[in-house]
């Protein structure tokens, strides 16, 4: 498990936030002020895990952003699972700009995360996945999620 780390880079009214590691009850978001930001852009590609206490702290922290637009980038599966399941994990004014979709090859046992980017692999209306994802041996990989559940946040977008 990686140690939690957060970097906030303010460019004008945009706060670019990069988060890595584990989000749990030990994380103290209160040290990282986001109130007053015009826009928030969170790169979550380095998040390793998040538990129920971490979710509680996360929602509380993002509540400080008020009505500022929030964009999630490079969301791993664990983040998308929370977005789908927990009301408020993605604020009402929030959008997912890109997220990873796990693929799996039953024949080779290979796992791969494919980045879906808004406007390419998905839109506000649905998913437009790649026609084929193959592993290094050329085996066709299957989407390793329950699609009905994993892409739910897009239906509600």
């Amino acid at each position: 498990m990686g140690k939690f780390d957060i970097k906030i880079d303010k460019v004008g009214d945009l706060s670019k936030i990069q988060i890595t590691g584990v989000i749990d009850e030990d994380v103290d978001f209160s040290q990282h002020k986001i109130s007053g930001s015009g826009k928030l852009e969170l790169d979550l590609g380095g998040v390793k895990s998040i538990n129920s206490c971490g979710i509680r702290e996360w929602i509380k922290w993002l509540g400080d952003a008020g009505q500022a637009p929030v964009t999630y980038l490079n969301c791993p599966k664990i983040i998308i699972d929370q977005v789908n399941m927990v009301k408020g994990f993605l604020p009402a004014q929030g959008k997912v700009a890109s997220f990873y979709v796990p693929y799996y090859s039953e024949s080779s046992g290979t796992e791969e995360n494919v980045l879906f980017v808004h406007g390419k692999e998905f839109t506000d209306n649905g998913v437009n996945p790649p026609a084929e994802v193959k592993d290094k041996e050329g085996n066709v990989m299957e989407m390793d999620v329950v699609e009905d559940k994993y892409f739910r946040f897009l239906k509600k977008a």
């Binding site: 129920s52 509680r56 789908n84 399941m85 009301k87 994990f89 329950v146 699609e147 739910r152």
Partner: protein, 610 residues
């Protein structure tokens, strides 16, 4: 506790502090006395040898002088057959000779030829010698000149045998050795003797003349002077009664005489005895001082150790609040400090252990109470079957599931409080209490969750939340209505021909709302759908896919989904599906500790029921 059998530390310290100087001083004394004794003996030998040599020289000189004085008298007698004018003139003028008598032996009989002697009425004359003939016979046989002190006074008899063609003449010369006799007889540090080869005393300490020293000690001059270059020697001799003497002897160059100078060894070493006695007194004084100092020093040390010992005994007896008061700044003081810290730590640990035991007891009680919150794992309610499984990660869990039937409505409850353990269990308990009341109010799932949300919020004040799914199946309308407070969406599995696939799992995620306890005024949405006979619903908490194997590798969603599909292939009774799924993840887990509570249950709307 071990019984103390050996010496106490104080005794050991006392013994060590007294024995070490005692042994050291004793060794020093033995060595010093040995050196002193050797030196003293050498000194005594040197002194007595000087005395014996001096006396020997004096006696030899006087005897030779007497004989030389008598020589002209002898020569005249041999010629005249009597003492003439020359002899008498010499005799009168010399004071060294007391008497001279001339004898001849005839058939063993001594015949006096002539005699001259000083007029002395108090002294015995030669003619009064009682054993004259024996003396002459002895002189005749002796290869050396015969010397005797016949009257045990200061006159020494020299028997001079003169061989002539006419036969042997025996001159008996009584020489006066007045000063020398006085030297032998006068008392001094030692005893001086003039003896012959056999040890027969001629002159000596008062009353010793005529005695035989050779009988009481092994003189044996011949062996002691085997080297003829030396005429004197020393020896330590023991008498027949065991008394040791330091003996110096010097051979007199006249006849077969020796001068012995004897010093009793005890007398010679008397100073050593005095030294020994004084040393012993000094040792006793030193030991007394050391003992007194040791008593004080060891008392201070052992007092602290005794205090520590008594304290450890009290701790062994269960009294942990004991502390030792030691003010020394040495190792014992540090030991006392360490002991006090240890005692404090033991006290603290004991209190913690007692507190922990109390809390564990309370947790056990809480676990027992919490177990009553859960329904029987299997139930069948007029064609609606339920089968479930619950396993907490610790004594008390944060998951809760429940089912109840109110009239024709069957309520399905499943929730997961933030974290797990006792705090989460308390929230589940509150949720259960609230649910017991809510389910009697005939409210919709959304309304029920709103009420439940307020209950959870009021209890936890926003610190602990719950994800929750509440479904309600109306057995009359076949409608299934559900509301979701950010809980894992259950899966609807519709019975079908052919193998079950991932796409056959329908997530019941049409609505989702905030978690219970997040906001007191949350309004919950609900969604309704119609269940068909054969439909199954799989409800679970997120602890199930998080199960880890001994390598701490998570089971994962892929295997979890596979497990659901595998255990529902062919649509066996849901009780079997649940049992099979438990077996699958138990095989993977292999007894590894859970990181979160596990809860899941399945429902089945029986197909052949109206």
């Amino acid at each position: 506790m071990r019984v103390q059998l050996g010496f106490s530390i104080r005794t050991k310290i006392l013994l060590m502090l007294t024995l070490i100087p005692l042994v050291t001083l004793s060794l020093f004394l033995v060595l010093a006395l040995g050196i002193f004794e050797k030196d003293k003996i050498a000194y005594v030998f040197e002194s007595s040898a000087a005395v014996s040599k001096t006396l020997s020289a004096q006696v030899g000189t006087n005897l030779n002088a007497a004989l030389m004085t008598a020589k002209p008298m002898i020569q005249e007698l041999v010629v005249l057959k009597h003492f003439g004018s020359v002899a008498r003139s010499i005799f009168d003028s010399e004071g060294l000779i007391d008497s001279v008598g001339v004898y001849r032996m005839n058939n063993g009989q001594a015949t006096l030829l002539d005699q001259i002697e000083k007029k002395n009425p108090d002294a015995q004359s030669l003619s009064s010698l009682p054993d004259l003939a024996k003396i002459l016979q002895e002189a005749a046989l002796s290869p050396i000149r015969l010397i005797k002190v016949p009257f045990q006074d200061d006159r020494v008899l020299i028997v001079e045998k003169v061989k002539t063609p006419e036969g042997d003449f025996y001159f008996l010369i009584l020489a006066l050795l007045k000063d020398q006799a006085l030297s032998f007889r006068s008392p001094s540090n030692g005893q001086n003797y003039l003896v012959d080869r056999k040890g027969h005393v001629l002159l000596g300490y008062d009353g010793s003349e005529g005695k035989d020293l050779g009988e009481v000690m092994d003189l044996n001059f011949d062996s002691r002077l085997s080297d003829q270059k030396f005429s004197s020697g020393t020896a330590e001799l023991k008498t027949s009664v065991g008394k040791s003497w330091l003996v110096s002897f010097t051979k007199i160059n006249f006849g077969d005489l020796y001068v012995l100078s004897l010093v009793p060894k005890t007398e010679a070493l008397k100073a050593g005895q005095v030294l020994l006695n004084k040393s012993i007194l000094f040792f006793l004084l030193v030991l007394s001082v050391i003992t007194i100092v040791s008593l004080f020093a060891s008392g201070s040390l052992t007092q602290s150790l005794t205090a520590l010992f008594q304290a450890t005994k009290k701790i062994a007896g269960g009294q942990f609040d004991i502390r030792v008061q030691v003010k020394s700044n040495d190792e014992v003081g540090s030991l006392a400090d360490s002991f006090n810290r240890m005692a404090e730590e033991v006290s603290r640990l004991m209190l913690e252990t007692a507190e922990k035991a109390r809390m564990e007891g309370e947790l056990k009680t809480a676990q027992t109470v919490q177990e009553t919150l859960f329904p029987p794992p299997f139930a069948s309610m007029d064609g609606f079957n339920i089968a479930g499984h619950y396993e907490p990660a610790s004594e008390c869990g944060g998951d809760w599931w429940h089912y109840s039937r109110i009239g024709k409505k069957i309520y399905l409850w499943i929730g997961d409080a933030t974290g797990h353990g006792a705090p989460a269990a308390l929230i589940t308990s509150a949720a259960k209490s609230a649910a017991t009341i809510i389910e009697t109010l005939d409210v919709s799932p959304a309304g029920a969750l709103s009420l439940l949300n307020r209950a959870v919020y009021d209890v936890s004040k926003g610190r602990i939340m719950m994800t929750f799914f509440l479904g309600c199946f109306d057995q009359e309308t076949k409608n299934f209505t559900y509301a979701n407070a950010s809980h894992e969406a259950p899966f609807l599995i519709k019975e079908k021909d052919g193998p079950l696939k991932k796409k056959d799992l329908i997530a019941l995620n049409e609505v989702t709302s905030a978690r219970l306890g997040q906001d007191r005024d949350t309004e919950y949405e609900q969604h309704s759908m119609t269940l068909e006979p054969g439909d199954r619903i799989f409800l679970y908490t997120d602890g199930l896919p998080d199960i880890q194997n001994p390598e701490l590798r998570g089971w994962g969603e892929r295997e979890f989904i596979k497990g659901i599909l595998a255990t529902n292939q062919g649509f066996p009774p849901i009780q079997k599906s649940v049992e099979d799924l438990v077996k699958i993840f138990s095989d993977y887990r292999q007894g590894t500790a859970l990181i979160d509570d596990i809860t899941f249950f399945m429902t089945q709307f029986e197909k052949d029921r109206p």
